[in-house]
């Protein structure tokens, strides 16, 4: 899941200020799960913006709509029927969603309403943590399903460091030591020998070294 948080209202109001007819577009996927840009949050932001506009005597039309997925063309196409009514779109999708809408409607300003944060998981209600950097070369097998790049504060592939205390990280005691988790997990799996391996530095060219990444699957294409 891609996580995000809403931008401050002042920043959003500044960005939408030049426009008089604004469509707030939510996304029912990842950002709904992390309570940042789903149907409910979209309704809340639209209502808040309408109130702020009324308080300042601004004549604006602010309406809302939520797509099931903002990053998939087939769902974004649903905007075809309504997009001409508006001067601008305020997107509550992640960065990919914002760009997906902007690519489809290049003549319409698409404004981001969220700050996209990280790829993570829902640990508990209202609690999300980062768990994947999208490195392009997954090594979770070797580390018992715990990613040291994403979850170790120092991103150590050959840990632990000397700062692990009682299973907590020296950077922040609220953070569990990823290497403690790795060792515990490998012990349970009977695979502690994997710790004997020395892992060379990560090949980051797979992540960022060759420009924006893409995946092409011919079997999935028309």
């Amino acid at each position: 899941m891609i996580t995000a948080e809403q931008k401050p209202i002042d920043e959003i109001r500044e960005m939408i200020a030049p426009y008089r007819r604004i469509l707030v577009v939510g996304c029912g996927s990842c950002v709904a799960e992390c309570a940042a840009g789903g149907q409910k949050e979209t309704a809340m932001l639209a209502s808040t913006l309408r109130m702020a506009a009324k308080m300042h005597g601004e004549e604006v039309l602010i309406e809302e709509m939520t797509l099931d997925r903002q990053c998939v063309k087939e769902f974004v196409l649903l905007l075809d029927d309504v997009i001409d009514t508006y001067d601008a779109v305020l997107s509550l999708g992640c960065g990919a969603g914002v760009q997906s809408v902007a690519d489809m409607y290049p003549e319409v300003p698409v404004i981001p309403g969220l700050n996209t944060e990280f790829m993570g998981e829902t640990k508990d209600q209202g609690y999300w943590t980062e768990s994947c950097l999208g490195c392009g070369d997954c090594m979770l097998y070797y580390f018992g399903g715990v990613c040291p790049l994403a979850r170790c504060s120092k991103h150590l592939l050959n840990g632990p460091c000397g700062g692990s205390m009682d299973g907590r990280c020296e950077v922040d005691p609220d953070i569990p030591c990823a290497w403690q988790l790795i060792i515990d997990r490998l012990e349970k799996l009977g695979a502690l020998e994997r710790l004997e391996m020395i892992y060379p530095p990560k090949d980051w060219s797979l992540k960022q070294g060759r420009g924006p990444r893409k995946i092409i699957r011919e079997d999935q294409q028309k």
């Binding site: 409910k40 809340m44 808040t48 308080m55 005597g57």
Partner: protein
């Protein structure tokens, strides 16, 4: 500057609050007329910020929720959740310059429980003292409500 609009309170309340039945609700609506809009909910934990925001946006000068006393929620933590959502809504309206006091929560006392009509009466007194919401009175600040006649207040 004055206007002839009376303050309006959107009041959400847990149906398990004493004396919160339909009969009492109708009686309160009759007493306060358009100044009180009551919204019974099965548990205050059902409350969501969008309910409070929509009320403030569309008609209300203030939006409150009445919950069961602490520790007395039949669903264990409905009132605690309502408190968190009320605080979230306060933060939102504060961010656009609206007074946070326009949203609030009243939690009854477990030792000396009060019925809905009693709690509403206390709440309405403070609502009648509130200045009009700038959401519905843009461009006329600082404006005041017309004085509400005592006999109307005491009806």
């Amino acid at each position: 500057m004055t206007n002839n609009r009376k303050p309006v309170l959107a009041l959400f309340y847990c149906q398990n609050v004493p004396d919160g039945r339909k009969q009492e609700r109708q009686s309160l609506e009759k007493k306060y007329g358009g100044s009180l809009r009551l919204f019974p909910i099965p548990c205050s934990g059902r409350l969501d910020p969008i309910h409070l925001l929509r009320a403030l946006e569309e008609f209300a000068d203030a939006a409150y929720v009445i919950t069961c006393p602490e520790g007395a929620c039949r669903n264990f933590e409905g009132n605690r959740r309502a408190g968190k959502r009320m605080e979230r809504t306060r933060a939102i309206i504060r961010s656009i310059g609206l007074e946070p006091e326009r949203v609030g929560m009243v939690m009854g006392s477990r030792e000396a429980p009060k019925g809905l009509p009693e709690q509403v009466e206390v709440l309405m007194e403070s609502i009648f003292k509130m200045t009009p919401s700038p959401v519905h009175h843009q461009g006329c600040q600082p404006c005041q409500y017309d004085e509400i006649p005592d006999e109307e207040k005491n009806q």
